[in-house]
């Protein structure tokens, strides 16, 4: 693999790490909000 390609994959790989955490957070947040909505006040 050429150096350029090597650097390219390193950049992409490191960029993927926060993306993984962000997506993970969004998924957990959405799931938690949904669970919370189950127990929310119902307007009578």
């Amino acid at each position: 693999m050429s150096t350029v390609e090597n650097i390219f994959w390193h950049i992409l790989g490191y960029a993927a790490m926060p993306v993984i955490f962000l997506v993970g957070f969004v998924a957990v947040a959405a799931g938690s909000l949904w669970i919370l909505s189950l127990g929310a006040d119902r307007k009578s």
């Binding site: 693999m1 790989g13 790490m17 993984i20 993970g24 957990v28 938690s32 909000l33 919370l36």
Partner: protein, 192 residues
């Protein structure tokens, strides 16, 4: 789509009526589930069965070798050698694996003939990678510092205590072909 994001953001930025403990607990459990699922996915893409899905011919070749079946049953599968163990390096390699999807779509090694023609290039790429990491994947299991030379054969003792110890050579320089059949070795440096 934009509406969805707006409503989601609204929900996130509005104080909740639920107790703090409930929110924290949800976050904690959610985090655990996320991390577990992520790692399960990682392990699934590291399994022999997953790699075999596309790379069946070369997985078949390892069946004759010592890393597949041996006296003690301690073995190595595809990911033990081809996927770095460190987390950051592993993620980089997994992202790089998207290149394989492109190759799959293009059918780069979709027939036996194409595969055989490309073997030299593929093998060389892996050897270069291992050279660059000083055969880190080998060293993940075969720790040089704990090699018992009194248990090794004469040839191994000589080679390991000189070239390997000095750092002049790395594992893969001599141990080519330990896992898969060799490609055409003419022109490969240091082979013959």
């Amino acid at each position: 789509m934009k509406k969805l994001i707006k409503s989601f953001w609204k929900k996130l930025s509005t104080p909740s009526k639920a107790a703090a403990g409930v929110l924290l607990g949800l976050g904690f459990v959610g985090g655990i589930i996320f991390w577990g699922a992520f790692n399960t996915g990682m392990d699934a893409t590291n399994s022999e069965a997953f790699c075999s899905g596309c790379h069946a011919p070369i997985v078949a070749e390892i069946r004759e070798t010592i890393h597949y079946s041996n006296r003690s049953g301690v073995r190595a599968i595809c990911s033990d050698c081809h996927v770095p163990h460190g987390w950051t390096d592993k993620i980089i390699r997994k992202v790089q694996a998207s290149k394989e999807l492109v190759a799959y779509a293009l059918g780069t090694i979709s027939t036996t003939e194409k595969f055989q023609a490309r073997r030299g290039y593929l093998a060389n790429r892996e050897w270069q990678r291992m050279k660059k990491t000083d055969s880190q994947e080998c060293r993940n299991c075969h720790d040089f510092d704990f090699m018992d030379f009194s248990e090794q054969g004469r040839r191994s003792v000589v080679q390991h205590s000189t070239a390997l110890a000095s750092g002049e050579k790395t594992c893969v320089d001599c141990h080519k072909g330990v896992a898969h059949r060799l490609p055409d070795m003419s022109g490969v440096e240091g082979w013959q």
